[in-house]
């Protein structure tokens, strides 16, 4: 069957002028960069076009910020003018970034269902470019969603400075890159749409709850401490809160009441170490995501 249908047998040789026998290399770097840009652009187009997603992506964090925030404030009380809403704000912003990034990455499951993944995978381009574009797109979209959350800061008494805004966006991007690569890896393993909800419930929610986004990670029981320290999100949320708190005018009492540091084996981790952990996490899952997509098709 293969040999018989060989085009050369009836088409009189590949002698057509368009096919001048220049040995075209299989991978052209500039073309691959265009692919990354195009995949990135598609993520943005889809994000902007689905306004319901932008709104629904806001509702959950807003619920946590105001409903949980006001509810818990009564219990936690105010220390030196600082309350639970201010504590939880960075965590909630991180949550919205993480959820948007994850959702964006998991749209690969949709792409598989509706066939578009095939269009991408059969194309003569490197899978690295596809994963890079997807990661860049998911990260941009997630950071945008997190940046929209910044408008809520004054409402809960968080003081924003230009430097803080830049720091927050930078950290949002890093967090989003890590979560997108993780999400693409997970998505490459999901074959059915039905599994999507399960993954969101069983993976994403525990990760968020155990990341320190909603409560301080100090003074927890041993088993819970272990789990939170194993959760990579912990190391993304902590620096985020640290830069936000550093820009606030807080009394020492308030700082003691609402701690931001993460301790590992009795040592307090510096922001640099925490960020390094997130970077390693992102790199590992980038490779896994690439391998996951290479398995398919």
């Amino acid at each position: 069957m293969t040999t018989l249908s060989t085009a050369g047998s009836t088409v009189p040789a590949p002698a057509s002028p368009a096919a001048a026998p220049t040995p075209t290399p299989d991978t052209i770097i500039s073309d691959e960069i265009r692919v990354v840009g195009m995949v990135w652009e598609r993520e943005l187009i889809r994000y902007v076009r689905t306004r319901t997603r932008i709104v629904s992506g806001l509702i959950q964090p807003v619920l946590f910020l105001f409903v949980l925030g006001y509810g818990m404030s009564g219990l936690v009380g105010t220390t030196g003018g600082f309350n639970f809403r201010q504590f939880v704000y960075p965590g909630v912003v991180a949550m919205s970034v993480v959820m948007t990034a994850m959702f964006s990455a998991l749209s690969i499951v949709w792409d598989r269902e509706f066939g578009f993944l095939r269009e991408m995978l059969v194309a003569p381009v490197s899978r690295v470019s596809l994963v890079l574009g997807k990661t860049a797109g998911g990260a941009t979209v997630a950071a945008a969603q997190g940046t929209i959350m910044l408008v809520l800061a004054p409402l809960v008494g968080i003081h924003l400075t230009p430097l803080l805004v830049v720091q927050m966006i930078a950290l949002e991007l890093l967090m989003a890159v890590a979560m997108t690569t993780f999400g693409v890896f997970v998505a490459s393993r999901i074959q059915k749409m039905e599994s999507f909800q399960v993954v969101m419930q069983m993976l994403l929610m525990p990760m968020l709850f155990l990341s320190g986004a909603l409560f301080p990670l100090n003074g927890l029981p041993g088993w819970l401490t272990v789990i939170t320290r194993l959760n990579p999100l912990t190391y993304a949320v902590a620096p985020f809160r640290q830069v936000v708190f550093a820009a606030q005018n807080m009394s020492p009492a308030a700082r003691a009441r609402f701690p931001t540091n993460v301790t590992l084996f009795g040592h307090t981790l510096s922001i640099a170490v925490e960020l390094a952990i997130v970077v390693v996490f992102a790199l590992v899952f980038f490779v896994l995501a690439f391998r996951g997509l290479s398995r398919t098709e």
């Binding site: 689905t50 066939g115 059969v122």
Partner: protein
């Protein structure tokens, strides 16, 4: 396999001058693929889908706009360029996919059952598109179909049964292998007609309810036969073998389902390149 989606277990093949086993990427850059299932992003517009494809297949930046306009023209979708694909009908989406397959000026366009599940009007439109591609873009078209009447358009047909090619030729030669044209008549006096037709040099046989003459060209033979019969002719039926006959001839008539395999009604058709 030829599209490099599967690896050959043995043998080798080249498509557009590239070996499918060792130059898979080059092969893919020079072929267009249209799958049975839809592979468009319906949240993007037609133009955005095409632009995405142009980048994936390395269409030079300066040519992208012109190629998009050109392929949309080929499938008569230019006026829907800015519309979301989610607003397209099934047939339009399929035509857009064919246009997309042509976007990077492939040498061979593979179409996997391009008209399956579509209404006759849409099927006709798609075939107009395909003919236009062949004539105006000079591309070799390699397609599979279940509809034998569609295979008529092809210049070469392969019938594949149980994974092996059992017939490969142009439609006329295949039909000739099945039998010749026939003209069947019923007359007032079959005996007399038989005698006079034989005298006139026709190859005639008595068949159930009448006579059957074996001729070279059924259309041209009807008039002379009626005249040569010498007696009043009541009915005339002229028949030329169709590709359905060819298909049944080669694959046999027995029901295959009992072997746990559906009857593989598949013909490969290809148009020759015009350069």
């Amino acid at each position: 396999m030829l599209c490099t989606l599967a690896s050959p277990t043995s043998g080798h093949a080249t498509v557009a001058g590239f070996d499918v086993a060792t130059r898979a990427k080059s092969v893919r850059r020079h072929i267009g693929l249209v799958f049975q299932e839809q592979t468009l992003d319906d949240q993007l517009t037609a133009e955005e889908n095409l632009r995405f494809h142009a980048v994936l297949y390395g269409v030079p930046h300066a040519q992208v706009e012109a190629r998009i306009s050109r392929v949309l023209e080929l499938v008569a979708l230019s006026d829907r360029r800015k519309d979301l694909v989610s607003t397209y009908s099934g047939g339009m989406a399929r035509r857009l996919e064919i246009a997309r397959g042509m976007l990077h000026t492939p040498k061979v366009l593979f179409l996997d059952e391009p008209t399956v599940g579509l209404d006759p009007q849409t099927r006709a439109l798609i075939w107009e598109d395909i003919q236009r591609l062949r004539e105006e873009e000079g591309v070799t078209i390699f397609l599979t179909t279940h509809y034998m009447d569609e295979a008529e358009y092809a210049e070469r047909i392969a019938i594949i049964d149980h994974g092996a090619i059992i017939a490969l030729d142009n439609p006329d030669v295949l039909k000739a292998q099945v039998g010749t044209d026939t003209v069947a008549i019923e007359t007032a006096d079959d005996e007399a007609a038989l005698a006079s037709l034989k005298r006139a040099g026709y190859k005639v046989e008595r068949t159930e309810g009448g006579l059957t003459a074996f001729v070279v060209d059924e259309e041209a033979a009807v008039g002379p036969i009626v005249a040569a019969a010498g007696v009043p002719v009541r009915t005339v039926r002229a028949h030329r073998p169709t590709l359905d006959d060819v298909f049944l001839h080669f694959t046999g008539r027995e029901i295959r389902e009992q072997h746990g395999e559906a009857v593989p009604m598949m013909a490969r058709a290809r148009g020759a390149r015009r350069s």
